[in-house]
Amino acid sequence: MARKPLSPEARSIINSKVSRRAVLAGAGAVAGASALAACGSGGGSSENAIRWGNWPLYLDVDDSGKNYPTLQAFIKESGIDVNYFEDYSDNDEFFGKVQAQLKLKEDIGYDLVCPTDWMAARWIRLGYTHKFDKANIPNAGNILDTLASPSFDPTREHSMTWQGIMSGFGWNTEKVPGGVRTLDELFAPQNKGKIVVLSEMRDTIGVILRSRGVDLQTVTENQYMSAVEFLEQKVSDGWIRGVKGNEYAEDLKSGDAIAVIGWSGDMFILKNDYDGKFDFAIPESGGTISGDNLMIPYTATVEAKASAEKLINWYYDPAIAAEVAAYVNYVTPVKGAQAEMEKIDPDLAASEFIFPTEKTMANLSVFRSLTPAEESTWTEAFQKASGI
């Protein structure tokens, strides 16, 4: 069927909205406030509808904010009804919410969820996911090579990347005209007190570790702790204004922060909205890439599982992926989407944010999976360095 690509005007309106992470800024940062209203979609909720919990503003939506064009096209074409909820707003929180039911093998209310890599690793390790029937996902082969075999799911039997997220340096081009490409440039004297880093430890410590030439696939506890000490020193010396999630984008806008370790999708939107007042670069020494993953909780019924697999397959169609990418601006995990994007918007097709070149990709690395014990002690050390 014919789908209407987004007009440039529509896209600029959509892009002027906050990103899915920025939407949590401020108020949403506080755990209690994050359960955003669920957005039902797909023409009512019939009994055999599958329920998809995704991050806010992470799927193409029309101007009214109520219709998801690619999702509705799927519903029409497949006859499978989908209830779409934008209430996956924090990995830990969501896990805390559903863990008890998962343990008891009771329905958690979702047939498709979207945890970030490290949390996906935990779900898979605990056996909380269904194994895909790849016959239902012929498009699975379209996944980018860099994402095809992560250590937590080497053959992608339990998870498929929804979007990739690069982390690197973001800065205010008026206040930091030279830009930020190395850790020393981030901690330049004139940035003191106006630096914000991510509260996602794998990204912040990952960037610091890369600047020391450490391979994130083999990072040891000593190397990690030494990078944490570096961060702790910078915090106590007053260099760092905040260790935050999505809210760093708000700090950049308000001028409270002028240089950050941030995420590509947010920075893309800021750059566009403010006509180049902000910019983003992958550190010379290398950045990190992570992903949010579509997974089917093992509490989903057999029918729901098959439907969810068909949905995953739909979004691995390059043309559909391109449409989603034109809205969310994160790294598209689907091969061939770039060629499709040419038809929608050549500028976006050339965007390094959505389609990193081979050279950029080579400079991004994935943080290795941590054992449960490491996860606890490493997180604790990072939080202590962040002041909590």
Binding site: G96, L126, K192, S254, S376
Partner: protein, 281 residues
């Protein structure tokens, strides 16, 4: 027989409620606080080992945050008292026919979400808010000084957010003062200040005690203001509890919560004893 049992029967719903939503959670919290991670277990799996060292370790790790919370809460309470007393006094004695309107205005901020009000302060004190640019232009603060991400912002935020809790009890007790006692004081040649010191203030003490407690207790456990208005060097014990909870490190979280409760309870008991008002509770 029937006469004795009636009051107890009437208390039953209350007891049932308290048992379900207070006693039971407290016991479960106590139980978790001495647990330890199962060796080789996964994230969030704990077993009871009666390890009371959890408390000592949690305290040693977070003593800085405990200290900071108490200091911030005390300062916020003091600021709220200094703002609320004249306000409550004016409401009680000087507001005339506008009394009800003004009382509604005191409570009006509660019509908006606590979070939104705090985020608003973040905007006001931010780099491009109403405050910083004029101060910069006047040369009162340097280019590198900022107002958010500071202890001052956190304390002001708390003083603001809990202000009605201070104002209302103060108003209630000042409003009860018979104006004739003030006149009598004047008749006995006391000047305004002496009248305040010897008559108004002592008579309003129940309000002062209630107001300071209602401000201090939530302020000491607050994490929202520190999260939104503070920086990494202004985190309070509430922030530690929240972050440990999400790791998830339930034993430490429970131990910290217990210690916070104990600390507040001791402070409150000592304070009420000193202040000598049994009208409060």
């Amino acid at each position: 027989m029937k006469k004795i049992s009636t009051p107890y029967l009437l208390l039953l719903p209350g007891f049932a409620f308290l048992f379900t939503f207070f006693v039971f959670p407290i016991l479960s919290l106590a139980q978790v606080s001495t647990a330890t991670p199962i060796s080789g277990g996964d994230v969030g799996e704990f077993e009871q080992t009666l390890r009371f060292r959890n408390y000592l370790e949690a305290f040693l790790e977070s003593r800085e945050h405990f200290g900071r919370s108490l200091v911030y809460a005390l300062l916020a309470t003091f600021i709220a008292l200094m703002i609320s007393y004249p306000l409550a006094y004016a409401l009680a004695f000087k507001s005339g026919k506008y009394k009800n309107v003004l009382l509604v205005l005191v409570v009006a901020p509660f019509f908006t979400s606590f979070l939104l009000r705090t985020v608003a302060w973040k905007q006001i004190l931010g780099e491009e808010g109403f405050v910083v640019p004029p101060l910069r232009t006047l040369g009162l603060i340097s280019e590198s000084t900022t107002l958010t991400s500071t202890a001052g912002a956190v304390i002001i935020g708390m003083a603001y957010n809990f202000l009605p809790f201070m104002t209302l009890p103060l108003y209630a007790s000042i409003d009860r003062i018979d104006p004739r006692t003030l006149e009598a004081s004047g008749d006995l040649y006391a000047n305004g200040f002496t009248t305040f010191r010897k008559v108004t203030l002592p008579l309003s003490m129940p309000g002062v005690v209630a107001g300071t407690l209602l401000t201090f207790i939530p302020a000491a456990g607050d994490y929202v203001n520190a999260e939104l208005l503070g920086g990494p060097n202004n985190t309070m014990i509430g922030n530690v509890i929240q972050s440990r909870f999400l790791i998830p490190d339930y034993p430490t979280t429970s131990a910290l919560s217990f210690m916070l409760m104990a600390a507040i309870l001791i402070i409150v008991i000592v304070y009420i004893r000193k202040a000598g008002t049994d009208e409060v509770v």
